[in-house]
């Protein structure tokens, strides 16, 4: 169903790797909100509502939305939180603007790294009887998915290595960093992951009237949005497929009224390169039979037909909990022409994929355009 009012992204703050320990989490959140508002050219007084997303276990707090109310300007404002995923905060913010009851929303997610073991924090998210004792963390679940893909698709490992090489090259051009290879779980090699870092991301959403009233020059219009979940038990899933992402993509493309071939630029949550491969298929960018050819002809590389992860993706920066919302913000900046060194020249229609949880349980697809409609 079409949204009653069309939201647009009018400001972003992408902070994929916050170094140093001189800022508290509250200060990081405040900085991020101020940067997003500055990018939108508005002030906190213009914000009607706030949606945040964070993970209690990573934050070491219960109900970590609470501290956000002061740090993000929530006092005497409407603030909600979607701790299921950072991308869900975007979804809810967009729905609130689309309802016509809010002109603007500030959406913020953060992901600190102070927890003594992120793996153990993630393991608490496994069901206590079956998965937790495996033991299972998110990378282990991604590795099971990688093994399933390798089993089903001959040559998948070489393709995964090619995806990783592409994203590393993009990352090196986009951001002045040398990412540290992450932990590994067979068959996911260290070269296919990056070490979790502290990060935060902020997005400002507004409706058309607000954008017009403020003379926003470069809104990224929400053309389509879809989100869906897989079953929770890994044993109930065929990990070599991504049906929830297929459903999310169906929702997004149906709303946008365009085909995947119309997309100029994409960001995919490459928790591992195998998840990027599965996303190519579910998003309609390339079926598994076409993966090898597209990686060889450079369709998804800088300068290719539809560059994927010009930001370098999760392989370049891995603020675990915010990676989904960062993908959306990166696409917003691409279609706004504000992506900086990794801008795809002339990008008018972008696709963001956000996935999270064990073996990408939660899936979302967001299509943003420089033009309000096709």
């Amino acid at each position: 169903m079409p949204l009653k009012r069309q939201p647009a992204v009018i400001g972003c703050a992408i902070r994929p790797a916050i170094r140093g320990r001189d800022r508290s989490l509250e200060e990081i959140m405040h900085d991020t909100a101020m940067m997003a508002l500055a990018d939108a050219g508005i002030s906190i007084e213009d914000i009607d509502g706030i949606v945040v997303a964070s993970n209690d276990q990573f934050d070491g707090r219960a109900i970590s939305v609470m501290m956000a109310s002061s740090a993000l300007g929530g006092v005497d404002r409407d603030i909600l939180s979607t701790p299921s995923a950072s991308e869900h905060a975007f979804v809810l913010g967009a729905l609130r603007v689309a309802s016509g009851q809010y002109r603007t929303q500030l959406v913020v997610a953060w992901s600190p790294t102070e927890v003594s073991s992120m793996s153990e924090a993630q393991r608490l998210g496994a069901d206590p009887y079956y998965h937790r004792s495996l033991p299972l963390d998110e990378l282990s679940a991604h590795a099971l998915q990688a093994a399933a893909v390798e089993h089903r698709v001959p040559g998948a490992r070489e393709m995964a290595l090619a995806v990783a090489a592409k994203n590393r090259a993009h990352g090196a051009a986009a951001y002045p960093v040398s990412p540290v290879p992450g932990p590994f779980r067979w068959p996911v090699a260290a070269a296919m992951t990056s070490v979790p870092v502290t990060g935060a991301v902020g997005v400002v959403l507004a409706d058309a009237d607000f954008a017009a009233e403020r003379g926003v020059a470069d809104p990224a219009w929400l053309r389509g949005m879809g989100w869906a979940t897989e079953a929770s038990f890994l044993g109930d899933r065929d990990l070599s497929t991504a049906p929830a992402l297929r459903e999310a993509a169906r929702q997004a493309f149906e709303a946008a009224g365009v085909a995947a071939s119309a997309i100029d630029v994409a960001e995919i949550t490459d928790a591992t390169p195998y998840t990027e491969l599965l996303a190519y298929e579910a998003l309609g960018l390339a079926s598994r039979e076409e993966w090898a050819a597209r990686l060889t002809d450079g369709a998804f590389a800088r300068g290719g037909r539809v560059p994927v992860n010009l930001s370098g993706g999760v392989l370049t920066h891995n603020p675990v909990f915010c990676t989904g919302l960062i993908r959306i913000a990166e696409i917003a900046q691409q279609v706004r022409g504000r992506a900086g060194k990794h801008q795809r020249h002339g990008a008018r229609l972008g696709l963001a994929h956000a996935g999270s949880g064990f073996a990408m349980q939660y899936q979302a697809a967001v299509i943003l355009g420089r033009d309000a409609r096709a």
Partner: protein, 392 residues
């Protein structure tokens, strides 16, 4: 009325208990979902999205425990997200479901959740972790002593006594005795409350909500869908959220946001909800209220904030029985949070009970002729407030 309202078409609630050893956490969610779906007379295929209602992960001992609830709510390959605003989570989830429909994205949305507070060990140990680890956690703060401080302040400002607090308990327990789903259903006397064990002065054991286990679920739909399918519904005509500061230390100052006796943001949220619903004189237009009050003293400032009376007048009006069943504006006719608190869905139950009242389906605790009702939820450290107006 325009044709794009959002209606409530199905409600399901557990019979809340201290423990539910017979049911796992997802089982409890499923229990409520089955009841709500039967009430809505819909098949799961009609559900386009799910909003999952779950407050702190630590209460169920599983990180992102909503992931385990996906199957219980029939969520596979459907739109699904979780809301957490602490104690207000339930009403925030209904609000999020409302936005799914009001935005035009979906016609039919399910919101559901459950909690096992009675089996979590000690909820106050968990709830201490909601505070900042460096400054306020170490006091140590819990939700009881936090609201005991509010009670002391309310006593000073408005003349509330411990007997006034006990009156709220007696009233709500009597209401709960009529509600088969309520957890604490035993009728108590003023003396029973006054003689109960001191927990954090002036709050005594019977001034406190129980730790409950159970689930709740609701189905919301667009007016178009409801008309096309000839369904029965009540309508969410006003809703809002407002927040206060995180810091307890910032509740002590000379501006309205710092008055810990009152519920400033709750008042602001009600103002916005009333405006949306076109309610200009709440005492004349509201027939019934379900106000989130986990401790007896907090019902007073909730009534004040809902503008059902001038500030502080809730105390003498309570003495006169004006908020009892059969009184002027019955408050917490289900027994309220004081008699049942399964935190993840407590504020959803406030919405559900208000909906049942204006629907004329509240059974033994029905308020005759109720057509307009209000509901509220409080979350965080008395910080995040959600409010709704529901009309027949």
């Amino acid at each position: 009325m325009s044709g794009d309202r959002v209606g409530i078409i199905g409600i399901g609630q557990s019979a809340f208990r201290s423990r539910r050893d017979d049911a796992s956490y997802p089982d409890l969610v499923r229990e409520a979902v089955v009841l709500a779906m039967a009430d809505a007379k819909l098949d799961f295929d009609a559900i386009e999205a799910i909003v999952y209602s779950l407050s702190p992960d630590a209460m169920v001992g599983i990180g992102n425990a909503e992931r385990l609830g996906v199957d219980a709510v029939g969520g596979r390959n459907k739109r699904f997200l979780r809301i957490n605003t602490g104690g207000s989570t339930g009403i925030s989830s209904v609000a999020a479901a409302y936005y799914h429909v009001a935005s035009g994205a979906c016609d039919v949305v399910l919101t559901a959740g459950a909690d096992k507070v009675g089996e979590c060990g000690d909820s106050q140990t968990v709830l201490n972790k909601i505070w900042d680890p460096t400054y306020e956690r170490a006091l140590p703060l819990g939700t009881i002593n936090m609201l005991a401080m509010s009670a002391v302040r309310y006593m000073r400002n408005y003349g509330m006594t411990q007997e006034d607090m006990a009156r709220v308990v007696v009233k709500n327990r009597r209401h709960a005795s009529l509600n088969p789903n309520a957890h604490l259903r035993k009728v108590v006397t003023l003396d029973d409350v006054m003689e109960s064990r001191l927990i954090s002065w002036p709050i005594k054991l019977m001034d406190c909500c129980p730790q409950s286990s159970g689930g709740a679920a609701m189905v919301l739909a667009s007016e178009q869908f409801i008309r096309d399918n000839h369904l029965d519904a009540v309508w969410i005509t006003g809703l809002a959220h407002r927040a206060e500061t995180y810091w307890m230390g910032d509740r002590m100052g000379n501006n309205p946001t710092a008055e810990h006796a009152d519920a400033y943001a709750l008042r602001r949220s009600f103002e916005k909800s009333y405006k949306m619903a076109g309610i200009t004189e709440p005492p004349k237009q509201v027939h019934v209220a379900e106000l989130y009050a986990p401790f007896s003293n907090t019902e007073f400032h909730a009534i004040d904030a809902a503008a059902l009376c001038p500030p502080g007048q809730s105390v003498p009006m309570m003495r006169d029985g004006m908020f009892e069943l059969g009184g002027w504006i019955p408050v917490n006719t289900s027994g309220g949070t004081l008699c049942t608190n399964a935190i993840a869905v407590t504020a959803m139950a406030r919405v559900a009970e208000t909906a049942l009242q204006v629907w004329g389906r509240a059974g033994a605790y029905q308020v005759e002729g109720a057509r307009v009702g209000i509901a509220s939820g409080n979350g965080g450290d008395h910080q995040i407030f959600g409010t709704m107006v529901i009309e027949a």
